[in-house]
């Protein structure tokens, strides 16, 4: 089949969603399909740009290319699903959350003016129509499917995305806690730093770049954590695999995350994960005392969980192994069979 995968692109940014769209395209090609990734830059501010960015997708004609029909289109993230195609399927990474569950929170994008409120509603209407017209809808996690159902009354089957390819291995149950991910407020690295401040024996390695890095470094310095917290910035695949292989546990506790690839990567390296009760997607796989520890989103509880894992390495390794068994079932073969089925 000739398949187009659509994904919005924020120039210079490259995170889990981008990896997912690229991998999907590659995996489709490896299975004998002719797949291409189509991206369009996305800008969400000032607020009127959101609708313009969405509308650009609507004006594209991807029904055929060079006179040959495109058999199927798989859209991923807002606003790439606004594109028109008779056989459009959506593998929803997320909607524009600032218009939904993040509205009127500290991560909000829209104010209280009539135009802001109406822009938010216009996004709902655009989503209702363009997601509603899709031939099939899938979501990358139960959390994303639940949000779609609660906000627009649209159903979606959950198809979990497989983790990226790395040299996953277990080298040791080391003495540091690893945090992986883009550094922005929603990833809540602060909570880990605050936990470290309460436990002088805790060592932390933070892998990832993002707009919040400087602030987080100041927070760490403010807590007197110099020497115990190491910001590695963006790391390459080999270094990331090495960190996973050598850490004692992985901390991953974003606020109501859509999916979260990190727990799967941790599990494939045989490491338990510490997350919080409000983390969203990670709770699909991080089960308390089975594959890791799930705590209240409080620094003292996070510190307690990490201390427990340090003091009980046998349990930690057992949970890591249990997580690995879960993660190994999430494969591209399984995902593609359902996406094309």
């Amino acid at each position: 089949m000739r398949i187009i995968v659509t994904h919005p692109q924020v120039p210079f940014a490259h995170g889990g969603a981008e990896v997912l769209a690229e991998r999907l395209t590659e995996e489709l090609n490896e299975r004998g399909h002719q797949a291409a990734l189509v991206t369009v830059p996305f800008k969400w501010y000032p607020r009127e740009r959101v609708l313009e960015s969405a509308f650009v997708w609507r004006m594209l004609d991807l029904t055929e290319v060079e006179g040959r029909k495109v058999d199927l289109l798989i859209a991923t993230k807002f606003p790439s699903y606004a594109v028109r195609h008779p056989r459009k399927r959506v593998w929803l990474v997320h909607q524009f959350r600032q218009a939904y569950d993040l509205d009127r929170t500290e991560l909000a994008e829209f104010g209280e003016s009539a135009v802001d409120r109406a822009t938010r509603r216009a996004i709902h209407e655009l989503d209702r129509r363009t997601l509603g017209e899709a031939e099939k809808r899938f979501a990358i996690s139960q959390n994303v499917a639940d949000r779609l159902s609660a906000s627009l009354g649209l159903g979606a089957e959950v198809v979990l995305p497989p983790p990226q390819e790395l040299d996953y291995r277990f080298d040791e149950y080391g003495d540091f806690v690893l945090s992986v991910g883009r550094l922005d407020r929603a990833k809540r690295v602060d909570l880990l730093l605050e936990a470290a401040a309460t436990d002088p024996a805790l060592r932390v390695v933070v892998a990832g770049a993002g707009p919040d890095r400087e602030r987080l470094e100041r927070v760490a310095a403010g807590h007197g954590l110099n020497g115990r917290v190491e910001f590695r910035g963006r790391v390459d695949a080999a270094e990331l695999a090495d960190l996973y292989a050598r850490c004692g546990a992985v901390y991953y506790a974003p606020v109501d995350e859509d999916f979260g690839m990190v727990p799967y990567e941790a599990f494939l390296s045989g490491k338990p994960v510490v997350t919080t009760t409000d983390a969203g997607g990670p709770l699909d796989v991080v089960a308390d005392r089975r594959t890791g520890l799930v705590t209240a989103p409080r620094a003292d509880e996070v510190a307690e969980a990490l201390r427990y894992l340090r003091d009980h390495p046998a349990e930690g390794q057992e949970w890591g192994r249990a997580g690995k068994a879960v993660a190994e079932r999430v494969t591209w073969d399984a995902a593609i069979e359902r996406l094309l089925g």
Partner: protein, 409 residues
Amino acid sequence: MKVAYYSPLPPERSGIADYSALLIPALKERVDVVVPARGHTKPPRGTELSVYHVGNNPDVHGWIVDALRRTPGVVVLHDFVLHHLVAGLTLARKDVAGYLNAMERDSGLPGRLLGLGVVDGCVPPLWSTRPEDFPLAGEVLDLAREHGLIVHSEHVRARALAAGFDGPIWRIPMPVWPAPPAEPAPVEGEPVIGSFGFLNSNKRIPQLLEAFAVVRTRHPRARLLLVGPEAPGLELERRIAALGLEDAVERHGYVEEARFWSLIAACDVAVSLRWPTMGETSAGAIRVLSLAKPLIVSDVDAYGELPDGVVLKVAPDEREVESLAASLLLLADDPARRASFSEAARSYASSEHGLDRVADLYVRAFEEAAGGPAVREQLLRSVAQGAAEVGLEDSEAIGSALREVGLGR
């Protein structure tokens, strides 16, 4: 957002007053709602959007239309047929030209001539005899065009579109009253069948009596409750006597709220028929459903939109009495079927007509109405500018794509 909310309110005796008394507290939890007092047609300072409840009664809604004329806004259209309202706003104010213009707008020159006949007294008042043929909703629809229309049914939505309305329309279900813990009134008989609200021929009371007489032949203990004031000319007593139902029909006239609920609670089956309709949605029918009572309605207009598994429907045709009797017997004969309709009614009323859901839908409409035109305009300007800069002026393709995703008019 500050919303000026124009509506009748209790103690005015109007279904719309009760509706607003229920809805306003839920809206106030979501937006800043100011309710102008009756007769105050100027929106309060700082109002970002005005909302007007319009029904067919000129005594109740006349001043609201005056306010709407002064400051256009969102119209909540409770009835599509507004002939009585328009007559009150024109002829009752000695504005003959206004009435004739409304008639001509509705039905062309024949309409104007017919209106002249009414004014001259040689044609009976159309608002009493044939209002459904001359709904006279044109001016109100015009005034709603810029900000939009809220309707309760697909029926009214379709009629507005057919009348040429091209502004935004939101269909929002009527909110359901939280059912009070009503003790069933003691009523003898089995099964007990009830009809609630004003008793007139539009409510198909004559047909109901005839069908009930059929039910009595198989269920001699069956009881019919008629709850509500009787319209002049209905000759209820004579009709009951002619069918030999004196011992089987219980009449209650106007009753207080608590008594009303307890009489509904006493029923095994409720009947809410209407033909012709004024395009309205029946608050009474929704109330009955909220008390989980099996309900039979007319299969017309907004009533016909109630889901098949939730109510039984009877078409107002030549076989109406026969169909109604069959539906009544279906429920009277089978308690399990009654229980099934009862559960469906409860579930439907709470999910579709739940107060929180309705209030959320209202706020959505308010937000879209207040800022939507500016958002659409801004987007259209930006897209059109981009197209013009590269020499493309195919505005139809752009407009069509904008409409497809809900961003155009």
